[in-house]
Every structure is written in C-alpha cells, then in structure tokens.
C-alpha cells in the first residue's frame, strides 16, 4: 500500500540519515510537538483525550476533516510523555496531513522502524507505535459515525 506523500518524504529523510542523524531529527521533531497543539477557536470533529497504560501521561488527539475529506490532527501531550512519543506526534501530525480517515485506518505500521530505526523500535516498541494507534482509533470513530449518519439518512 502506498503511503501518504508527506509521510513518504519524512521516511525518506530519516532513511538517508545515519543513526546519529536520525536521533538529531527525532529531537528536532520532538521540539516541534508543541506546534501541533490545538489553538483557540479550533473546531474538531473528534476529540479523544485520555491516559492509557501504554503511555506515561495523558495524550489528547483532535481531528478536523476539511471539505476534501482530508484529516488535520492536533495533539496535546502531558509533561511526562517521553521524547520519542513527542517526536512521533510531530512526525505523524505532519505526515498524515490531508490523508483520508480510511487511508489512516488502513495504514500499515511497518513504516515506523524506517523512521526511528529498528534498534529504538526493539527497545521501546510500545512508545513508537502508541501515537499511530491513537490516530487510527480516532479515524475509526469518525468513520463509524459517518456510516451511522449515512445509514440514518
């Protein structure tokens, strides 16, 4: 399955880097996680804020769907959230911008090691996959609601 173009670009960047460069870029993305926080006045189709066992702090996922059906994600992260989770937040919010909810739901997770490297995935597997799981969960809720609405009408 073809990945969203923006995500492919990020993957290509990471794959071109040695391990040290990968870490540097993960830190840069984690620094940027705050830029993906909801702003005053934002309106969302779905808001899902919760604390799961899989993560060390609360994570909020907020999804807007534009007129073309593409998704825009915003996220809130509690202060104890780990650096790798922050990095994956910024990567996925950017990489999945404009993707359709069904595309997000169908997204295979095997691209994650191509970004963070197999070693980090092996050492912190739950951390690396957590944000993607949460985004998929929100996309699924959106699609279920859409299907229910169309069934009623």
């Amino acid at each position: 399955m073809a990945l969203p173009q923006k995500l492919e670009s990020i993957i290509a960047l990471f794959e071109s880097l040695p391990d040290a460069g990968k870490r540097e870029n993960l830190i840069a993305f984690s620094d940027n996680a705050v830029k993906w926080e909801p702003q005053e006045g934002d309106v969302f189709e779905i808001e899902d804020v919760r604390k799961d066992e899989e993560c060390t702090d609360t994570v909020g996922v907020f999804m807007q769907v534009d007129e073309t059906g593409g998704c825009q994600f915003k996220m809130t992260l509690g202060p104890q959230v780990q650096t790798l989770t922050k990095a994956m937040t910024a990567i996925l919010c950017k990489g999945l911008q404009g993707s359709l909810p069904q595309e997000i739901l169908d997204l295979p997770s095997d691209f994650v090691p191509r970004i963070v490297g197999a070693e980090l995935v092996r050492q912190r597997s739950q951390t690396t996959y957590y944000i993607l799981t949460r985004m998929k969960s929100v996309a699924k809720v959106y699609l279920n609601r859409s299907h229910q609405a169309s069934d009623v009408s």
């Binding site: 993960l26 066992e53 650096t83 790798l84 070693e119 739950q126």
Partner: protein, 285 residues
C-alpha cells in the same frame, strides 16, 4: 546528608557544579526516556543507556567485562574515575547504572541527590553539547561481583523458603497481584500477578521525597529498620519488576543505611512471575 551511613555516595548540585570540569570525575546520565539526554543534559555529562549499553539481550545478562571496559574507555573513564550518576524518574536508572558499575568492581561512584528533575526544578542549566573525552585504557575487570550484590532466581527462592528478608519495592497493587505492571506503565509480559512468598512490601517511593531526593537517615531508619524490622547483619534481597526500582532501594539500604549484605534480584517479577513452578502469593502478604 552527613547522617547517612556512607554520605560520600551522595552528592548535591553544588558538589557537581564544583566538579563539573574535574578530570577525575565523570558525570553519567541514565534515563528511562531513551532520547531525553539528547534534549539537554548537565554540561560534561555522558550518556549511558541501561539497555543498549549495559545489557546483553541475547542472554538476558549484563555485558561482558571486556565490553564494560570498552564502554568506560569510550567515555574516558579510568578505574580511578569518580562516576556521578543522575537521571529521570527519581534516579531509578541512575541507581541501576551505578549498581551495574559495582558489578564490575567500579565502586568509586556517586548519585546526584534528586537527579535530573531536581536539577531542572532548581533552574539549573542543561546543554545539548555532547562532550568528547579522550579515550582511556580501562582495564578489563577480572571478574563480575555478581555474588556480592546480585541475586538470581535460585537465591531468591532459597531466601523465600528460609524466610530471610525479601523486600518487594513495587507498588502495592503489583504486590497484591491486582496489576502486573506499575501504575501508568504498560503491561510488559508478565503472566501472573502477586509476590514472592514471604516478601515484605516496601515501595521504593517510601524512600524518596516529592522532589526526588532521598529521605533523611532518621526517616529511612523508621521505614526499614523500625517498621520493616531489618537487622544490620541481615542478608537482604530486593526486587521489583525488572530491577531498576530495586536498584534505588538497594542503594538506600547499602549506602544510606549501611546494611552490609544487600543484593538486587534484577530478574525480578518479569522472571519470577513467568517462571514455571515458581510459587507466588497474592494479597497483602
């Protein structure tokens, strides 16, 4: 800090600032958050990861003495270097790394009281500059001191059967068997909940203040000596889930309270809870 049994094992921020450029001191950051060091660390601190640097995953053991010597050499550590450890999570992983250094006989170590969080809370500076030290020629340790400070499954079983002191430092919910992981953390592959029969529940957090520093010697004595009943000549084993929280308690018992014979069962609950025919108890104990 002067009332502790070995006050020299603990340093405060001012001590660290005074020794930040001391060539005989190496500051070592060890965290649970694998990328935290890269986001900023104490100037001149090197990074040692508890898993990637210290463990040999192929045999679930620690690295060979040769690999330990190479690790130290890479960071310019000599056998005479004073290694000062600090990290996140109230120094769990810093205490763990310190304990591993002791396994190889490198006992010239210190812990920064309060760790990384207190350093930041006190408004002290971090840097992203990674220091570079001239490689040293660290001698390969002739042996590992597992017998002295490390307990294995059989040691712990024997302890349990002979009613010797076993300290379970996990959260009360883990001890009772209600959960198999610490609160706020994922389930990491343990089939059964409960505790080693005969173990006392003394959560690691009881030894720490809210800012991550250790409680006073008097407060610690009240917890471990008065309430838990540990005697100075007791043979004590501490365990948790994977050995990091129990490293914290091992440090408290051995260096802040001065118990002579304290071992850390690093296999801990992830080994015991999964082991075929290992007996467990549930409930309050």
């Amino acid at each position: 800090m002067s009332e502790y049994a070995h006050p020299d094992m603990l340093v405060d921020a001012q001590w660290l600032l005074d020794h930040q450029d001391d060539p005989n001191v190496r500051i070592v950051e060890s965290n649970e958050d694998i990328l935290l060091y890269d986001t900023g660390h104490i100037r001149n601190a090197v990074h040692i990861d508890w898993r990637a640097d210290l463990q040999d995953d192929e045999i679930r053991d620690y690295i060979s003495p040769e690999a330990f010597a190479a690790l130290c050499s890479r960071h310019g550590i000599t056998s005479d270097t004073t290694c000062v450890f600090y990290g996140d999570k109230s120094n769990w992983w810093a205490a763990y790394a310190l304990w591993v250094f002791h396994l190889y006989g490198h006992t010239n170590t210190r812990l920064l009281n309060g760790g990384r969080d207190k350093w930041i809370a006190d408004g002290r500076e971090l840097t992203r500059d990674v220091p570079s030290f001239t490689a040293s020629d660290y001698p390969v340790p002739p042996r590992r001191y597992d017998d002295d400070i490390r307990a294995f499954f059989d040691d712990t079983l024997q302890h349990s059967q002979s009613s010797k002191p076993l300290i379970d430092v996990r959260s009360p919910g883990e001890f009772k068997g209600e959960i198999t992981h610490m609160p706020e953390y994922p389930q990491e592959g343990v089939l059964r909940g409960g505790h080693v029969p005969g173990a006392n529940s003394v959560p690691w957090k009881m030894a720490a203040n809210d800012d991550g520093t250790f409680k006073s010697a008097g407060e610690l004595q009240q917890i471990y000596t008065d309430q838990c009943g540990l005697q100075q000549d007791d043979d004590i084993i501490a365990y948790c889930r994977i050995g990091e929280r129990s490293s914290h308690t091992w440090f408290v018992l051995k260096y802040l309270l001065g118990y002579e014979k304290v071992r850390n069962y690093d296999g801990s609950w992830t080994e015991w809870g999964n082991r075929v025919r290992a007996p467990i108890e549930k409930g309050e104990g």
